[in-house]
Point group: C2
Chain length 353, copies 2
Amino acid sequence: MEINELGEFGLIDHLTSGIERQNEGTLKGVGDDAAILQATEGHRTLVTTDLLLEGIHFDLTYVPLQHLGYKSAQVNFSDIYAMGGMPRQITVSLGISKRFSVEDIDSLYAGILTACREHGVDLVGGDTSASMTGLTISITCIGEARPEEIVERGGAHDTDLVCVSGDLGAAYMGLQLLEREKSVYMQQLREAQNAASKPDELPAFQPDFSGREYLLQRQLRPEARRDIILALREAGIRPTAMMDISDGLSSELLHICKQSACGCRIYEERIPLDYQTAVMAEELNMNVTTAALNGGEDYELLFTVPLTDHDRVVQIPGVKVIGHITKAELGHVLVTRDGGEFELKAQGWQAKL
Amino acid sequence: MEINELGEFGLIDHLTSGIERQNEGTLKGVGDDAAILQATEGHRTLVTTDLLLEGIHFDLTYVPLQHLGYKSAQVNFSDIYAMGGMPRQITVSLGISKRFSVEDIDSLYAGILTACREHGVDLVGGDTSASMTGLTISITCIGEARPEEIVERGGAHDTDLVCVSGDLGAAYMGLQLLEREKSVYMQQLREAQNAASKPDELPAFQPDFSGREYLLQRQLRPEARRDIILALREAGIRPTAMMDISDGLSSELLHICKQSACGCRIYEERIPLDYQTAVMAEELNMNVTTAALNGGEDYELLFTVPLTDHDRVVQIPGVKVIGHITKAELGHVLVTRDGGEFELKAQGWQAKL
């Protein structure tokens, strides 16, 4: 169905009807000039926003719209968890060019709403517009935390332990894999177009990813680490500084060090890697540590805890201590497997702007 | 300066350094995974968002970037006022293509920050990204109101008075004027390009708008009606339903009637018009009432009040009673100057999607 058949308000009704409310604090969602929320008593409000543009942040050749919706929501939840809070509401604005049908936008929304259900989040508003080219997705997430639960970037101290959740570099390897398969496919497409004139003989994009499922899942379907925040609360650990890893470990760690006015020393051998990440890096003749340091899109949590929390933090499944915070004058050091020392550099953002 | 010279984080630092905090409830703005806000005790939180895309919502041939920034912020504030609330914070996400310089984005931000200062709003976050084509602006605004101050769309009752602030149709006429001058200019440009090969001989876009300043101001520099909300509070009037007029009076009034399950009866002769709007309509051979009903982008307030508030509401400068609410079965009627009756139709949105 063409979107013009519904019109803007018809489309919004179609997309948002039957959404069940998940939070008592969501007093009114879609349908007025603004949503009405009631902050939980004793809590502060957290606000984060992300803009995703076709051709910059995603490539619809290999990203299904449902996954794109899911990921768009998760990356916002991840920012709220990275403050120590719980996401409560999102607004979703879409710019939609003519090549998208109502069914396409349904798929995108289905992914967004699946992520919302998993994290107990209400979709409370947004804006829907035509666009000249491509798909634009802008999501703002509202979260909450008690003052004592909030963790900023600037609280790390000398001797604190540097911890990460999950493993790193897999999402980046997933992207390399998809890009490689896309270029193979584009080549096939050109050859098929030269050989046959019937459009129904053109091959579909159906590459074989067996054995690489984890890399694809990490790229296409990241999971914001609510579980880690809950486990930290359970263990009575309050990180001194925290961020989510969206631009790569190096870049994020340098942010924490800059805002905390400190240095760091991390160990290559302790950086958590998945087996598939290592295999793929070798196949592509890339350095796996570089992928883990600069790859980005892991959406894992990077945080620091006091040294006295060591025994408790290592017992949390999926958390690994990779080094420690130092005095600022000691710099930002990566100790390699062979004992060499390198200065960490931020490279993640350069690809993005 | 090219944006790449600064990088994403450099650009954000450049744009947001030196911003002064205007609200005590803004505990932390730009610089972490999320902003941290403290809702005022006894208040609810209001959230609204708008997406503005180049080529759909604005044309940079005739819209200066500073005005665009100013307007982008105002349209969000307008949505918060339309709920009876006060705007407190905004996030601003930008997608920026290569043709924009740092100075361009400075101008855009200068406009946004001017609007923020005028309305006591803090810029607390955002996202900045490259874009393939054109400029994308996504703004989310957080506001507050006491529960008893909040006005939704669904509370209008039979016999309530229908009121509007300011005057209508001028922003639409301003747009027509700009579009006309643009097409004259494009013609001049083509002729100049054919006649001369030196680029410095091409004419600049400097049309003469004397005597039309009000229309341009309404299109380029709308003012969200904080003053009307404060005047209503001062007068002890609580509207039963309220919206801001962004898509045209007809469309908005039909929203209120639908959500309030009622009809309405408004009078053409009472619709507030500026003299310049009427003159321009005549010059363009357009019906001025149609412009007022369907033009859109007025950002005035449309609201209903109980009949008993009549004497107080007419004393508020800039507010006009244009008709009344009826039972649903009486329909949505416009009574023309000559006593004819027409059914109101929503046309505003069709141009937008």
